[in-house]
Each structure stands twice: as structure tokens, then as C-alpha cells.
């Protein structure tokens, strides 16, 4: 079995139930989020479905715990292991997002296109957290500053105070579907790069960001 077979298995979707597909989608979203310098779109429906399933699984486990049948116990162990793994995936996914939200807070707040990628509760967290930080700085020292120096998003003086994600960060990615348009990478002697299915590239994030959003390329 070589990599093409595995890929065909993954995105063929044949025979896989919705639950299996969701697991793949979640894993992919998680790896993408971990690899990319920018925050990606929040997959609200996917998370919703997975959370529903987790809730059901917890109920099932609670219902069957009293049972002393050894066969049943073995099944429970498997169920619980699966549950723990799902919980880990979601937890890690959310935490990676939160870390990015904290890091690029002002960038996200001022950029409505990026802000739209967050879930409602993430936006809530972001605004509350920023307000909190701001009032903390203000109470600690900023209030005693001259008024023209009190801003936190100053760009004067040659240095911007807003931290932006590094779109030029290098990432590893694998192409899932053939991409119609070639990507051009400035500063190299290769003119156009065609993204063919199964290819693996080391490339700057900015060149494949669109393809990743469309699901044509995944990070590894």
C-alpha cells in the first residue's frame, strides 16, 4: 500500500460513515490549525456534530457502567479510550486557536475578514480579554502617561504595536486534489508550480493559504 492508496482511501469517502468522515475532518482541521501561522475558519457544524456524539457516548458509558459482565467491561474500556481521544482532539484544537487569538489579538480585532473566522464564543473571549488587558495596563501605568502616548495600537515611530501573523512561515503540506491554477513563487527560478494530487511540498504559507481553505491542500 503506497501513499496514493492511502490518499484514495482518505478522500474517496466510499463506505465511510459520517462519523468516520467527521473524525478525519476534525483531525485534518486540527493538524491544519497547528501548522498554519494564521487562524483558520472555525468549523462550527463539524464541532457541533462531534460534541453531540461525545455527549451521547458519555451517556452510553454512564448507562452501562453498573454492568459487571466482563465482555461489557472490555467494550467500555474501548469506548472510553475513544472518548478520551476525541476529547483530546477538540481540547487541543480549541487551545491552539486560543493561543493564536491571544497572540494576534489586535490584528484579529481590527481585521473584519479574519474576525469572521472565529466562533461567537471566541470573539467574546477575545474582546473581553483585550478589554481586561487594556484596563490592567491602564491601571498599572498607562493612565499616568501623556495622552498622546496612551494608545496600544500605535504605528508611529517606525514600529507597529500590532503583532501580525507571519504569512511567510514555511509549512509542510500535501495536495489532496489537483489544483486548477498553478502557484507562482517570487524569487525562485521555477516559474509555475502545479499542485498535483499526492505531491508534498515545503512552501511558504501565503502561497497555499487559499488552497488549504478550500480543502485542496492539507498541512502535515
Amino acid at each position: 500500500m503506497d501513499i496514493d492508496d492511502i490518499l484514495a482511501d482518505i478522500d474517496g469517502g466510499s463506505g465511510g460513515s459520517l462519523a468516520t468522515e467527521d473524525l478525519q475532518a476534525l483531525t485534518r482541521a486540527w493538524v491544519n490549525e497547528k501548522g498554519s501561522p494564521e487562524i483558520l475558519t472555525y468549523p462550527s457544524e463539524l464541532i457541533e456534530r462531534v460534541m453531540d456524539r461525545i455527549r451521547k457516548q458519555i451517556e452510553t458509558i454512564e448507562m452501562q457502567t453498573g454492568d459487571m459482565d466482563p465482555k461489557m467491561n472490555f467494550r467500555l474500556v474501548i469506548l472510553q479510550t475513544e472518548l478520551e481521544r476525541f476529547k483530546y482532539l477538540i481540547r487541543s484544537f480549541l487551545r491552539v486557536r486560543l493561543a493564536k487569538i491571544d497572540k494576534h489579538a489586535l490584528h484579529i480585532l481590527t481585521n473584519s475578514e479574519v474576525k469572521a473566522r472565529l466562533s461567537a464564543s471566541e470573539i467574546q473571549y477575545l474582546t473581553a480579554h483585550q478589554a481586561l488587558l487594556h484596563s490592567h495596563y491602564r491601571a498599572s501605568f498607562l493612565a499616568q502617561f501623556p495622552p498622546n502616548l496612551q494608545r496600544l495600537d500605535d504605528t508611529a515611530g517606525g514600529i507597529s504595536m500590532v503583532e501580525h501573523p507571519d504569512l511567510d512561515q514555511v509549512i509542510f503540506c500535501r495536495v489532496l486534489h489537483d489544483v486548477a491554477d498553478p502557484i507562482t513563487i517570487e524569487g525562485t527560478d521555477t516559474a509555475d508550480v502545479w499542485l498535483k494530487r499526492g505531491d508534498i511540498f515545503v512552501v511558504r504559507w501565503r502561497h497555499v493559504a487559499d488552497a488549504v481553505t478550500k480543502g485542496e491542500v492539507e498541512l502535515i
Binding site: 481540547r91 487541543s92 491571544d102 502617561f145
Partner: protein
């Protein structure tokens, strides 16, 4: 010299990054740097008002240079202060995530300090141990309180997941643990376990994660 105090704050911040606990808040330095900024601003506005409107930098390079230095020093000081506070607040947030009860420790160590007057050797020892924790400014205490609320509010939406749980991928459902401190009785789905010091158990990881983080239990590999 301009900016020297700011530099000290940055050095403190740098040191804080590699420490496990939070060193005491440098109230004096923060105040002094803020004062320096205010003085510089006053100087700058005095110089500017003396010059009036018809000022051309090329005609009077000395004054222009003085203004520039003042201006840059103010900005630099601001950056130093922000960096110092940012490092500390990041650290506090991290502690909140790890489930450490910072405020309680703070109160405890304050009480211990009060207890020192009675001359008990034990409290002196305790106060010495937790001296590193008793180091928040009043503003920071407020910050921690509000951040914990914020975190709890966000976490509350994900009760099934336990967001503050371990970020290590789960390998085994059950693990061996040794009890380091008496932790009382805990309820698991297989009945209750009494965690007494030095005993050893084979338990579900999810049930005891919190206790491991808090230092009651030790995981045996």
C-alpha cells in the same frame, strides 16, 4: 540616564520568563519609569512652546535633536513597561490555565507574614517558601480575578471536554499513580477511592488529572 530604568525592567522580564514562579512586582521601577516619561513630556512641551510656530529643524539642529531624543526615550520607556507587564500577565494567565489558585496562595503567604510576629519557626519557613508567590501588585490581583472569571466563562461552554486538561495525547486509559499528599476520597465510576499518602493506585487518567496537576498525585511510568 534616559531609559536605564526601562532597561532594568526588561531584564527583570527576561528573568521572569525562565522562572517557575513570579518574582515580586517592581513597583519602584515602574513608578520611576512612569515619572521619567512624564518629566520628558514636560520638557518636550516646554521646549516646543518656547520655540513657537516658526520652527525649522534645520535651522536649529540642537533643539531638534533634543526633541527627538526626548520623544524616542518616551516611546522606548513605554515599550519597556508594556513588555514587562505583558510577560507578567502572560505568566499569570498560564497559571490560571494550570489551575493554580494564585490569589489563595497570595492570601496565605500574607497571613503567614502576619503570623511571623508570633515568632513561630514553622510559619517563617512557610513564608519563606511562598515568598515567590506573594508578589503581585494590586492591579495584577484584580487582573487574575477577572481573567479567572473570563476563563471559567469560556470553559463553561465546553464542560464535556475539560479545556484545561492535559495537552499530551492520551495513550492509556488507566495509569499508575502514587499519592504524595493526602487528598481525601474521590468518586469514580468504579466506586470511591480513599487517597492516603504513600498508597498506590491504578486509576482512570481522566479522574485524577486535576490531582496530578495540583501535586497531590505522582504518575508512575
Amino acid at each position: 540616564m534616559y531609559g536605564e530604568l526601562g532597561n532594568k525592567l526588561v531584564q527583570h522580564a527576561k528573568r521572569t520568563q525562565s522562572l517557575a514562579h513570579l518574582p515580586p512586582y517592581q513597583t519602584e521601577f515602574v513608578r520611576a519609569v512612569t515619572r521619567e516619561v512624564r518629566d520628558l513630556d514636560k520638557d518636550a512641551s516646554v521646549t516646543l512652546s518656547q520655540l513657537g510656530t516658526g520652527f525649522t529643524p534645520s535651522a536649529d539642529p540642537a533643539t531638534a535633536c533634543a526633541l527627538l531624543v526626548n520623544h524616542l526615550s518616551m516611546r522606548r520607556n513605554k515599550r519597556c513597561l508594556l513588555a514587562y507587564h505583558r510577560v507578567r500577565s502572560n505568566k499569570l494567565e498560564e497559571m490560571c490555565w494550570n489551575g493554580m489558585d494564585i490569589l489563595e496562595q497570595q492570601q496565605q503567604s500574607q497571613q503567614n507574614r502576619g503570623g511571623n510576629n508570633h515568632g513561630s519557626a514553622e510559619t517563617t519557613l512557610l513564608a519563606g517558601e511562598s515568598a515567590g508567590v506573594n508578589s503581585l501588585s494590586p492591579e495584577e490581583e484584580e487582573f487574575v480575578r477577572q481573567y479567572s472569571d473570563l476563563l471559567a466563562a469560556y470553559k463553561g461552554q465546553w464542560t464535556d471536554i475539560d479545556l484545561t486538561g492535559s495537552l499530551e495525547p492520551p495513550r492509556d486509559l488507566f495509569i499508575d499513580v502514587r499519592v504524595l499528599k493526602d487528598a481525601g476520597e474521590i468518586q469514580t465510576e468504579y466506586g470511591s477511592i480513599n487517597l492516603t499518602k504513600n498508597s498506590q493506585f491504578f486509576v482512570k487518567q481522566g479522574d485524577v488529572e486535576r490531582l496530578i496537576a495540583q501535586g497531590f498525585l505522582q504518575r508512575l511510568s
